[in-house]
Amino acid sequence: MNGAIDIARQLAAIVLVVLAFAAAQRIARRCGHAPWANPVLGAAIIIIAVLAAADVPIVSFESHAAVLRWPLGMAIVALAAPVYREWPLIRRGAWRLLAVLTGGAIAGIATAVWAAKWLGLAPLLVHAVATKSVTSPFALAIHGALGGPAELAAGLSIATGIIGAMLLPPLLARLRLDDPRTLGLAVGQAAHVVGTDALLRRRPAAAPFAGLALAVAGVLTALLLPLVWRCLI
């Protein structure tokens, strides 16, 4: 009996996610995919409002929506497809690409940690923001291994992704740093999956580079962070 209720709740969570995202996407399309009309943020706001109206605790929604982690994992595996499409280009400049992404990963960790200390944030937050530019599954894995605040870090990682997806493409366009490769690498590095998803809709040519950047940046951060972990606070 309990099992049946659980399955019904999982189903309800999935339906809620699908409908909220469809609605948010419609709104985004109406607004001509304006950067501020980010469907991930829009859908999250709709869901939070629906849950509040129905008096369902967010934690309960989260535990039932966790079934979506399987298709999410599959979609991340599938990011190899656009990378494969750009494979000849990537192979030609592999070392330079690696240098760019290493520099980006160091910038991502260093600016976050330095700013957190400068602003006088608690040590817990210093650790949590160190992984803000890697996608949340990475943040969970890295903090799991290092004993950091995994859930908090995953939340900050999503927030970072939404901020980057909304602000980076127009800013880079203004700075004339928006050829597909440069834009893709920068957005994938700084705003990981959320940024990559935004590019898929707004600048498809840049998306393979974003997918590449988010994967490589995640691996590099997982390599670099343990080395500096103890010096962070």
């Binding site: 996407q25 929604f61 989260e62 966790a66 979609a75 656009p82 600016t111 602003l119 291994a145 920068a186």
Partner: protein
């Protein structure tokens, strides 16, 4: 094997490849010295498979369909931001927001400038 299956329009069968590679990645994850998410190990395996096993390239349309769902699938994580709030005291919320915006922009610009400086102009 995949090719005739796929030609009969069975995109579902093609979805099995990312699923199997995700399972393989999850199984490999605890064996590696470095903690990596199983999905990323699966992604590396899929890239290697696409490069080396031409038959698997028939799964590319299914993979692109999956990627189209990516935005929807990260929505629960964005909702999960709210329960994470209590860990952030009111006094530091503003500073934290400032930090996220500024450092994300700096990271993006730094990566873009590095790409501009180090990479050759793409293609003809």
């Amino acid at each position: 094997m995949m090719q005739p299956l796929y030609r009969r329009g069975k995109r579902l069968a093609a979805l099995l490849v990312p699923l199997m590679l995700l399972l393989a990645g999850n199984a490999l994850a605890p064996l590696l010295p470095l903690r990596l998410p199983g999905a990323i190990i699966g992604m590396v395996l899929y890239l290697l498979a696409l490069v080396h096993i031409p038959a698997l390239r028939a799964t590319l349309p299914a993979a692109h369909a999956l990627i189209g769902l990516l935005g929807m699938l990260i929505v629960p994580a964005a909702v999960g931001l709210v329960p994470a709030f209590p860990a952030i005291s009111n006094s530091s919320a503003g500073r934290l927001a400032l930090l996220l915006v500024i450092t994300t922009l700096i990271t993006g610009i730094a990566t873009a400038l590095l790409a501009k400086a180090l990479l050759k102009p793409a293609g003809p």
